[in-house]
């Protein structure tokens, strides 16, 4: 569903881009911070953690993958319904 008013439509896409940038920025920060912390801790404790490091890899992978897919779903949902529900009026 789209609008007939081009100015309003442009405003909607601009606001949607704002939401997208916000979420992508936070996701990028999340990946960087998790990667940094995991590297620092596991590298210092590798003599002990080397035996079960895969547990950390599995859970950090799950966490980031599910959150990323979730954020993409949120973005798609906003894009799909933004004109219908007039999110940015």
């Amino acid at each position: 569903m789209e609008m007939n008013d081009p100015a309003l439509e442009k405003k909607y896409h601009s606001k949607l881009n704002g939401d997208t940038v916000l979420v992508l920025g936070m996701l990028a920060l999340l990946v960087s911070v998790e990667g940094f912390v995991l590297y620092k801790i596991l590298s210092e404790t590798w003599e002990i953690a080397g035996n079960f490091f895969y547990l950390y890899v599995i859970f950090v992978g799950l966490l980031i993958a599910i959150e990323t897919i979730g954020c993409l779903s949120v973005r798609n949902s906003i894009k799909k319904h933004m004109f219908e529900f007039r999110y940015y009026d």
Partner: protein
């Protein structure tokens, strides 16, 4: 829903940043204190694993809550989801669990604020300051949800920025760290410590599901709830990783495991005044923000229970001027004071965690039932469709039960008491409201009749599509 209440409707003004402020505001206190018991149980490696396992569970729970909250748009949150999709017994248990979880946290937060105030001004007494904090936050919530959550946004943002600034200063070498602390306190209790540490993993994120409880007061719940909740979840994941790293390289593990204010202590160990002041302020503000969010969420849960006659419908009145559930808000005062001065606060907090874990089993289960009863994806029924469902719902339940089981070490009696309490609530309210599922008025919500019901065909015909 009962017609036997005098309420109008709650005002719909909240935006995504309010949802973020409600969720993160309640939870961020758990990153300033409490999470470090994971270190006492499992060392730095146990704490890291607990943070990741609990984080994975909460990501999945928050996706379930986003879908359920944006679909139902009701103030009761987990209570209303259980009422609509499971049954009255589960609904009452979850409603009471949410109420207990948040009101116990409010009491704990108010006491910590009073202790911090007393440490700054020794002439102050803890008892009157605790009363003052509870009364002040109740008054703010009485006056209006927008003012309460805007206050939360400011307090929470300052507390979060304090962690971020401290982390980047440390990561870029402005603070002298002790990497040897990581190895020295890596795994003091062996492999069993990895498992034992899981019981305190929820501290990093406990209460984020409450963000969806303001759905009824959102201007556009289909956008505000999923966006605010996911932004909140990412904020907490970032904050948790930063907090763990900062404390682990600045405080020896044996001291970190028993610290009362670990982030503040890490700042003290850095020896830099700016961080001591910043993290001290952050500790204070995050306690106030958490207590404030808890008043908001516990009152909404009580309001929803009252609206459906699970408790007296007298509490379901909405203020004619401020559009807040003012009686439910005021009723938080005596209960919070009772919790605060029971003398068993550590037990009360553990009861709060157990109540939260009960919700983490029943929220994904509500989503599974919701998907089964209403498989169609229309704008009216399901404006936000969560990904990877129902698989992540089953996975979240499995992790929640695993964490539940670890509470048996050290909190056996709390666990048994909670099972008895919620078991009695389940059977009592199941019996008292055995016909309430029939009373769910799906058409009034603009939904079709649920799959498999007698009225499914009729429901499809009357269902409208389109508006929110």
């Amino acid at each position: 829903m009962s017609e036997n209440h005098e309420s109008g409707s709650l005002v719909k003004t909240l935006r995504p940043f309010h949802v973020w402020a409600l969720g993160v505001g309640i939870v961020l206190v758990g990153e300033y204190m409490g999470w470090n018991f994971t270190v006492a149980k499992g060392g730095v490696l146990g704490s890291l694993l607990a943070m990741l396992v609990a984080g994975t569970m909460y990501v999945m729970i928050s996706l379930c809550a986003s879908e359920l909250g944006s679909s139902t748009k009701l103030a009761g949150g987990p209570y209303d989801w259980a009422r609509l999709f499971i049954g009255p017994g589960a609904a009452a248990s979850v409603g009471l669990a949410v109420y207990m979880e948040y009101i116990a946290l409010e009491a704990a937060d108010a006491i910590v604020v009073a202790f911090i105030a007393q440490s700054i001004f020794p002439e102050l007494q803890v008892f009157p300051v605790t009363l003052l904090v509870i009364a002040l936050l109740t008054f703010i919530n009485y006056r209006g949800v927008v003012a309460a959550l805007t206050l939360n946004f400011v307090l929470t943002m300052i507390a979060f920025i304090a962690i971020v600034v401290f982390f980047f200063a440390t990561a870029f070498g402005a603070v002298d760290i002790h990497p040897e602390y990581l190895f020295q306190g890596a795994l003091p209790n062996g492999m069993i410590g990895l498992f034992a540490a899981l019981q305190f993993g929820p501290w990093f994120y406990l209460g984020i599901e409450g963000a969806a409880m303001c759905a009824e007061e959102c201007k556009h719940p289909a956008r505000a709830v999923p966006l605010g909740q996911q932004a909140g979840m990412i904020t907490l994941l970032i904050g948790a990783a930063m907090t763990l790293y900062l404390c682990a390289v600045l405080i020896p593990a044996d001291m970190l495991g028993v610290s009362v204010y670990p982030l503040f202590e890490a700042a003290q160990n850095s020896g830099m005044f700016i961080f001591i002041a910043l993290l001290g302020l952050g500790t204070f503000l995050t306690c106030v923000a958490s207590a404030n969010g808890c008043v908001c969420d516990s009152s909404r849960s009580w309001f929803a229970l009252s609206r459906d006659n699970y408790v007296s419908s007298w509490f379901s009145a909405v203020h004619p001027r401020y559009n807040t559930p003012y009686r439910a808000v005021i009723f938080t005062v005596p209960v919070a004071i009772g919790f605060a001065f029971s003398g068993f606060l550590d037990q009360v907090i553990t009861f709060s965690i157990i109540s939260g874990l009960l919700c983490y089993v029943l929220i994904p289960f509500s989503l599974i039932r919701f998907r089964n009863l209403f498989p169609e994806t229309t704008s009216k029924v399901r404006p936000f469709v969560g990904p990877l469902q129902p698989y992540i719902a089953y996975f979240a339940i499995a992790i929640a039960i695993t964490i539940f089981s670890t509470l048996f070490w050290g909190y056996k009696y709390n666990l048994i008491f909670a099972f008895v309490f919620y078991g009695i609530a389940y059977f009592y309210f199941s019996h008292r409201h055995k016909n309430s599922n029939i009373e769910n008025n799906w058409t009034e919500m603009g939904w079709p009749a649920p799959k498999g019901s007698e009225n499914e065909r009729i429901g499809k015909e009357v269902m409208g599509v389109g508006d929110e």
